[in-house]
């Protein structure tokens, strides 16, 4: 199993698309830092202002959540669809004929890259967000005090979002279609569905991936986790959100394994 993981790590780090996706984590996190500080400001004489409230401080520290929400699923998709796109699955299955091991190795590697992505966004916050906040008059320790409340949720969210992408990549072999399904589906379609369900049926579609992920991540996701969740929208509890996100990853992964992944490689 360790050998399979090693091989998957080599594959991931030798795919340019993975590095491009990964690198986008930094500027995306900086953009959200900018948005958080702008949101704290916005009154006469202050376009940007330091974060004060608990919610704002957590949003600043967890500014990378949005990057993880967008990019971690893509990492998961690339991990598996890259094989179909370049027909390397044949070699993979010859080298590791027990296919469940291949999939488990991909789960492990996707989780690792997702964690690295989350850590990269924290680096962006540390490098840009905290100094900027301090320059605006904020107290850095008041933000870093929230590490325990923010970072575990960010890391677990990133892992589950990566798994979500891997699941859809396993199910939908076409790379573009899988990316559109995961990103377009969660960021665009989900927002529309949530808004419609709320307006027409007065029902909170809080078990869809984006909303479930927001529940797991807590305060860091509420401001910038996608549109369509207006006032009065009830998120699941964090642990319910985590379980639902896990299901969003595992269900397509399982279906994909028993269908696409186990099919004849002709």
């Amino acid at each position: 199993m360790i050998d399979a993981i090693r091989a998957e790590l080599i594959k991931m780090r030798s795919m340019p698309g993975v590095w491009v996706t990964f690198a986008l984590g930094f500027p995306l996190a900086v953009l959200i830092v900018l948005a958080v500080l702008a949101n704290a400001g916005g009154f006469p004489g202050h376009t940007f202002y330091y974060v004060e409230s608990l919610k704002q401080r957590r949003e600043l520290l967890g500014a990378g959540y949005f990057a993880c929400e967008v990019l971690a699923p893509i990492l998961g998709v690339l991990c598996v669809t890259g094989e179909y796109r370049h027909k390397t699955m044949t070699t993979t299955f010859v080298l590791r004929p027990i296919r469940s091991q291949v999939l488990l190795a991909k789960v492990a590697v996707t989780a690792l890259w997702s964690v690295l992505l989350a850590l990269l966004t924290l680096v962006a916050v540390a490098a840009v967000g905290l100094p900027w906040n301090a320059a605006l008059g904020g107290v850095t320790s008041q933000v870093t005090d929230q590490i325990g409340a923010v970072v575990p949720g960010l890391l677990v969210s990133a892992i589950l979002l990566g798994l979500f992408g891997l699941g859809f990549g396993t199910l939908v072999k076409n790379q573009i279609a899988a990316i559109l399904l995961t990103i377009g589906g969660t960021l665009i379609l989900e927002s529309i569905l949530i808004a419609l369900a709320h307006a027409i049926f007065h029902y909170d579609l809080n078990w869809l991936p984006n909303a479930a992920g927001a529940a797991l991540a807590g305060d860091i996701a509420r401001g910038f986790g996608g549109g369509g969740r207006g006032a009065g929208f009830h998120l699941l509890t964090w642990w319910q959100g985590g379980l639902v996100m896990l299901a969003w990853g595992l269900i397509p992964l399982t279906i994909g394994f028993f269908t696409t992944f186990r099919r004849d490689v002709t």
């Binding site: 790590l9 370049h86 080298l95 027990i98």
Partner: protein
């Protein structure tokens, strides 16, 4: 057979192997054994089921029936698959942005082998100088070599190669031929599929010929070609029409090659000579064609069998057409 070759290979056994894709029988009840220390050619026209058979052997395609084993075990059950079997399947199975060395290192990692092995096998296939180049810029021949390096990373006892000559230049083909001979000389089992018969005839010890998914012949190259020797006679005559009439009457199969030429299949000079003399047919030339792998192959894979190629009117077998095919193992498997 390479004399005195150390026995490090394993036999490959196919037993009643079948694969149906809907109503199409890609592979139909295929049974044969590939012996270690020999280069075995797996020959058949395009679409004859060669690749599907090899993929079933490697666990990539699930058989509809039957088994394919290596040393008595299915590929998925081998404790160290890459140390036992190396496979060259398709030269396009590379990520174009991956460097050659990275690709082989990935394969080494997957099989639990020393990463240094990557450089060794790249040198073995003559790609050391290109190890740091991205595979996207490789020629087809270089990709074939890289695929071979990947297959060799575990120093396997069994080599399975699917159309490895595709895209190789003459030098590459000669190199591959020597390389396969070298591997078999070490006692390894080498199974190579191809439709390049002239090339295969210079390389292989044994041949397995398939057509429409069915086994047509299996044996040593000598046994298979011997089965065809003395069975093809070519006559050049100004009375070709009358000759074919005589052949129809004698139930001998034939092919009209030109206005003056007729090829008679499944007959010996002793059979055809008296027949032509009795019917007083003028002959300019009567030759017994030398049998070669290509002729056997074409005869066996044309959809008809020995003695049936281009048969005259009623399709019944020619006299004494059977019984010249060697042993049952080496003979056409009909």
């Amino acid at each position: 057979m390479t004399a005195g070759a150390p026995s490090r290979g394993l036999p490959i056994e196919f037993s009643g192997l079948s694969k149906h894709f809907g109503t199409v029988r890609a592979v139909d009840d295929l049974s044969f054994t590939v012996q270690p220390g020999r280069v075995t050619g797996f020959l058949g026209p395009n679409g004859s089921g060669k690749t599907t058979t090899l993929r079933m052997l490697l666990g990539l395609v699930h058989p509809s029936a039957g088994t394919a084993t290596i040393g008595g075990q299915a590929y998925q059950e081998l404790p160290n698959p890459t140390s036992t079997v190396g496979a060259v399947l398709e030269a396009t199975s590379f990520h174009p942005a991956r460097r050659a060395r990275t690709h082989v290192r990935m394969a080494a990692a997957a099989g639990g082998h020393d990463p240094k092995r990557a450089d060794e096998v790249l040198e073995l296939v003559g790609l050391s100088a290109d190890a740091k180049r991205k595979v996207g810029g490789f020629s087809m021949g270089m990709r074939q070599r890289l695929e071979l390096a990947t297959a060799l990373v575990g120093d396997p006892d069994v080599l399975i190669l699917d159309e490895p000559s595709n895209g190789l230049d003459p030098q590459g083909i000669a190199w591959l031929r020597d390389f396969m001979r070298y591997l078999a000389g070490e006692g390894r089992t080498v199974l190579v599929s191809s439709h390049l018969l002239a090339e295969m005839a210079q390389t292989i010890d044994d041949a397995v010929i398939v057509s429409f998914g069915q086994l047509k012949a299996h044996g040593t190259l000598e046994q298979i070609t011997a089965g065809m020797t003395s069975m093809v006679m070519r006559a050049r005559t100004p009375e070709a029409d009358r000759l074919t009439g005589v052949l129809d009457g004698a139930h001998i199969s034939y092919r009209r090659l030109s206005n003056e030429e007729v090829a008679m299949d499944g007959v010996t000079p002793e059979q055809v000579g008296p027949l032509l003399a009795t019917n007083q047919i003028v002959l300019y030339e009567l030759t017994q064609e030398g049998a070669d792998l290509e002729r056997v192959f074409l005869s066996l894979t044309s959809g008809l069998g020995f003695g049936e190629v281009g048969h005259g009117n009623d399709g019944s077998p020619p006299p004494d057409a059977g019984g010249t095919g060697g042993t049952s193992e080496a003979a056409p498997a009909q």
